[in-house]
């Protein structure tokens, strides 16, 4: 009880120093938590991918198309339930900075394969019936203030020109991880325009989405599809949606590893800073520690004082960091919505934040504790006056 009282009073002895240390640890813990969350989100697309959906694309590269004529042959493969297709459209809204994912798709099969994109029956019907119609996720609609019935004009990049669409529906993600910043429109609309303007680009798709009866059939069906087009002009590569996403993620894996290293470096740096602060504090109080030892207090009493202060300061920093994580995550989710479909910090990350703060307290307290607890009384007393 006395130790705790003494520690708490010592905490407020150099208020500015204590506050700056607590804030420093809080910022480090916050940065650690946010960077960790960022890395986790990067892989979340792959983690949430369906295991009953396959993606068939050109085996050379995703940028090379496949003929639409493959559709019926893929549909005929045993184990396949539904097949849809699409092409990356790559247009932007008004200015290049207003960029978001947009795809030309075959809508009926697509809506069956992606039940996580939830639309009202009315909106779904309106979209299916209108060749110029499009649907957008609610986050995207909110960003640009779009309402159902609005005319949206996109500027094409891969497919040059002004492209007009009528907004027929705003979908909601069934799960939190569902991407809500996508625009989807009829592939037929794109193909018709290609037939008229660039016929050599007509009747081609970027990929097929293939639904399979059960996950266990995925590899068998993938092999069957690829064998269908072996030695053709456009050989295919079929893989699960998860593997497909991981292909993208792996391209940036080095960056993600670098971010992870940075998150640990942040904690290491604050550890050194906190250790220096605690060493400075212990050095200033060495005369007091010697006095306490003179009075009969033992090394472990002093160890409790110094170590306790270090751990309490770090824990307070950790709590502040964890508390700041929620508004920071909310701010990122709102302000950087074009980069992150959602930005929720997991319970595991919050726990790790606290553990990181505690480890800062433990590590930074070791040297000052050892120094304070083992000080020779006569040497310590000489520091006074």
């Amino acid at each position: 009880m006395f130790l705790l009282k003494y520690i708490l009073r010592n905490l407020f002895r150099h208020r500015l120093r204590s506050v700056l240390t607590v804030v420093g640890i809080a910022v480090a813990v916050l940065a650690f938590g946010l960077l960790r969350t960022l890395v986790g989100l990067w892989y979340s697309g792959a983690e949430h991918a369906s295991d009953t959906r396959l993606v068939t694309r050109n085996s050379i590269s995703l940028v090379f198309p496949l003929p639409i004529s493959y559709l019926e042959r893929i549909r005929g493969v045993p184990g396949v339930t539904t097949v849809s297709y699409g092409s990356w459209f790559g247009a932007y809204y008004k200015e290049p900075k207003n960029f978001f994912a947009n795809y030309a798709i075959e809508p009926k099969g697509y809506m069956e394969l992606y039940p996580e994109f939830t639309l009202s029956p009315q909106e779904k019907n309106d979209f299916l019936l209108d060749r110029k119609g499009c649907i957008v996720g609610q986050r995207l609609a909110k960003t640009y203030g779009w309402k159902v019935g609005d005319l949206i004009t996109l500027k094409g990049t891969i497919y040059p020109g002004q492209w007009e669409f009528v907004l027929r529906g705003i979908y909601h993600g069934r799960e939190k991880a569902t991407e809500e910043r996508i625009l989807l429109f009829h592939w037929d609309y794109l193909n018709e325009a290609m037939r008229q303007t660039v016929p050599r680009r007509a009747d081609q798709v970027g990929y097929f989405i293939v639904g399979v009866k059960k996950p266990e059939l995925a590899s068998e069906v993938a092999l069957a599809i690829d064998s269908l087009f072996k030695n053709s002009l456009a050989e295919t590569l079929t893989e699960t949606e998860k593997a497909f996403h991981m292909g993208f993620v792996s391209m940036t894996e080095a960056i993600m590893i670098a971010i992870q290293i940075v998150s640990y470096m942040v904690i290491a740096i604050i550890m050194v800073v906190a250790a220096n602060t605690m060493a400075m504090t212990a050095r200033e109080r060495i005369g007091e520690y010697a006095t306490l030892k003179t009075l009969g207090f033992k090394g472990w009493h002093l160890a409790g004082l110094i170590f306790g202060e270090s751990v309490i300061i770090s824990f307070l920093g950790g709590l502040l960091g964890v508390a700041a994580t929620f508004p920071a995550a909310s701010w990122i989710e709102t302000e950087l919505a074009q980069f992150f479909p959602y930005f929720s910090v997991s319970g595991e990350t919050l726990l790790l934040e606290l553990l990181a703060a505690l480890s800062v307290g433990v590590v930074s307290g070791i040297f000052p504790t050892w120094r304070g607890a083992t000080i020779r009384i006569a040497d310590g007393l000489k520091r006074i006056g």
């Binding site: 006395f2 003494y6 009073r9 010592n10 002895r13 005369g287 007091e288 006095t291 306490l292 030892k293 003179t294 009075l295 009969g296 207090f297 033992k298 020779r376 009384i377 006569a378 007393l381 006074i384 006056g385």
Partner: protein
């Protein structure tokens, strides 16, 4: 005075040297010295003569190279670190030149510190602390922090802390060295009262001849050797 009583402190052939790199600097050489119970002894001498070192050795906060120190029949040179700490807590009261109070604790809490190492409960500790603060005349300042007290008052708190466990001996290292004349006189009177009224044994290191005059015996240390005045 208790000149003929059994010595409470018995020092035999005590030697101590400091090492600075490879150089050995002798501080005390073959000291033999007895202090009777209830005596007020002043140790004087020039800087570096070893008087503070001798005081530290008697108080068990430094270790001798050679020789014996018995305090109330306890051979303290043979005690380990932990036993020595326990012995200090119960047998020695310390009064320092710069008071050495803990700045974040009140006068009451500073005086209570040594009692935290005893088995006394909270109520008993309070009774002890209030009693000694009364003795030093600071009962009305018990909730003040050291920074809110004058130098003389801080030293009185330090004296209260030194006597709260009713130790065998009191050791004082330049107890008036940081005080003005009036405050120094008050402190010396208080120490004299502890000897006269409470029978305490006081060993005081001082440079101040006026302070030494209060002692029953003055011992001079010169180049690590003792002489009697």
């Amino acid at each position: 005075m208790a000149e003929n009583s059994e010595p409470i402190v018995r020092i035999r052939n005590l030697s101590k040297a400091y090492r600075r790199g490879t150089q050995v600097i002798p501080v005390l050489t073959g000291i033999n010295f007895d202090i009777a119970r209830g005596e007020f002894v002043a140790l004087m001498g020039p800087s570096g003569s070893g008087k503070s070192t001798l005081l530290n050795l008697i108080a068990g906060i430094d270790s001798a190279d050679q020789g014996s120190i018995q305090v109330a029949d306890v051979e303290i040179t043979s005690l380990g670190e932990s036993d020595l700490a326990r012995w200090r807590a119960g047998s020695v009261g310390f009064i320092f030149q710069f008071y050495n109070l803990i700045p974040v604790l009140t006068a009451f809490e500073n005086v209570e510190l040594p009692l935290l190492l005893t088995h006394l409960d909270r109520r008993e500790r309070r009774e002890h602390v209030e009693a000694v603060l009364n003795v030093v005349g600071l009962a009305d300042r018990m909730d003040h922090y050291p920074a809110q007290l004058s130098g003389g008052q801080q030293q009185r708190v330090a004296i209260a802390r030194a006597i709260v466990t009713d130790p065998e001996i009191l050791v004082a290292d330049e107890p008036t060295g940081d005080l003005d004349r009036a405050s120094a006189e008050e402190i010396l009177q208080l120490m004299d009262r502890l000897v006269q009224a409470f029978g305490k044994t006081v060993i005081m290191v001082t440079h101040d001849p006026r302070a030494a005059e209060k002692a029953h015996i003055i011992r001079h240390l010169e180049k690590g050797e003792l002489s009697v005045t």
